[in-house]
Amino acid sequence: MITGKAVEIAAEVYWIGALDPRLREFDIILKTANGTTYNAYCVRGQHGVVVIDTVKASHADEFFTRLEQVAHYEEIQAIILNHLEPDHSGALPELIRRAPQARVYLSHRGQMMLKGIIKDEVLEYIPVGTGDTIDLGERQLRFLHTPFLHWPDTQCTYLEKEGILFSGDIFGCHFCDTRLFNDKVGDFRAAFEYYYAHIMRPFREHVLEALALIEPLPLNLLAPAHGPILRDSPDSYVQRYRQLAAPLLTNEAAKQEKTLLIFYISAYGNTTRMAQAISEGAETVKGVRISLYDLQGGEVSAFVDLIEEADGLVFGSPTINGDAVKPIWDLLSSLALVKVRGKLGAAFGSYGWSGEAVSLIEDRLRGLKLRVPVKGSKIKLIPTDTELEQCHRFGRELALQLTGQTEQRFITLDELVRETNHA
């Protein structure tokens, strides 16, 4: 049992974290059936001691108890912050009070956040990036800039000769087990996968960048900020990340082809007819693969996988009680799990008198950081042939946007303002 004890995980490298076995929900968005751990570490060198990360404020006592077993506060020369989320920085203000001489190292992007955490207290800190090091005498710590995994500030710290990577949330999972090491604890694979899917997946490109830095490192041990310490075949977890970051679906569309997904829902078929006309309009442009999905009868999670790989997304909904309908919002609210930033977005729908759905969807798409250059298509009640032709043009315009074939458009700010106010 490790209750209250620091654990030596390698020569003069200690786990000094905290256990939170009863936690059942993390950051509101994650279920944690097995609780979690907040892993902090202490590395001893010739010149003193380095503390890597802290714990959640509520668990600070546990952290200090462990720290005091392996180091005196005066010995602490440096505090490294791999990630400033409160589950890792919660005990920082108190640690700084107890070890005021310690120098704080963090990523460039972490500086802003640090100020948000320590507020008025004056504190010297040293921003670091890939290649920067801390010399501990015969040992050396090296930094890896691995932003957005899963905050802008995240970084990893590598203990050079020993081949230990302190990876922050990367390779972590919410799984509390007092046996601590991956070859001793219960089966945590599901927790590992779940953590990746909910925390890392939206940042796939950043995962790939981080892997490019991590894969060349000789690894004896992976020391993440949550869950088991990975000492048995640490490389296999790096490989697993490589697999998870690969596209989930292989796109059968030719490489140079763009993909446009049209999602719609319709009570009386008006919005359906619009969707078909839009699809046909888009078909007139070469180099776009168009897919049409009725949200009624669709499964959100499968659509999310498709959306992750798509280039353009179009959503059609009637206006019901002044809003788009719930299946649309269900799908749109699930997109926080994948990267949609920069994709092409658009909206359409039939309405009765007020027609709020289209602009509400457009706002949401902008909120999700899609580009929405083509104004949505709205039609009152039953679309006429002329109106279906408009839909056809709308679809074609979207496909042209997607393939970068739009003619340059000139407009003044005044015209633009008028246009947006009429939407």
Binding site: K369, R371, P373, G404, Q408, F410, I411, L413, E419
Partner: protein, 95 residues
């Protein structure tokens, strides 16, 4: 009043605006791919690349300068929520 032409390369639209307009006021309305988070020059979400006409933008404020440094942004980058157009031709794209 002096005018400026701002071209959003990713959607191929050129907007003529009065000098002094902020990029954010235009890019959102045309639906360009430049995206925003805090809108206050803090988060760096709106980082954009100035393809041409950097000199036609007002100098970055201290705040913007600081954030650009923290982002380790290049010489061609500005924050769209902060940058103000002075006149002439400006070409921008996300990132």
């Amino acid at each position: 009043m002096p005018k400026a032409n701002v071209t959003f390369e990713d959607i191929n639209v050129t907007v003529t605006v009065p000098a002094g307009t902020r990029l954010i006021e235009i890019s959102e309305k045309v639906g360009a791919g430049i995206t925003y988070g805090c809108r206050e020059g803090e988060c760096g979400t709106c980082l954009m690349r100035i393809v041409a006409g950097m000199a036609n933008l007002a100098e970055p404020s201290m705040l913007e300068d600081k954030v650009l440094k923290e982002l380790m942004a290049g010489r061609h980058n500005r924050l769209a929520c902060q940058a103000q157009v002075l006149g002439g031709e400006i070409v921008v794209r996300p990132g």
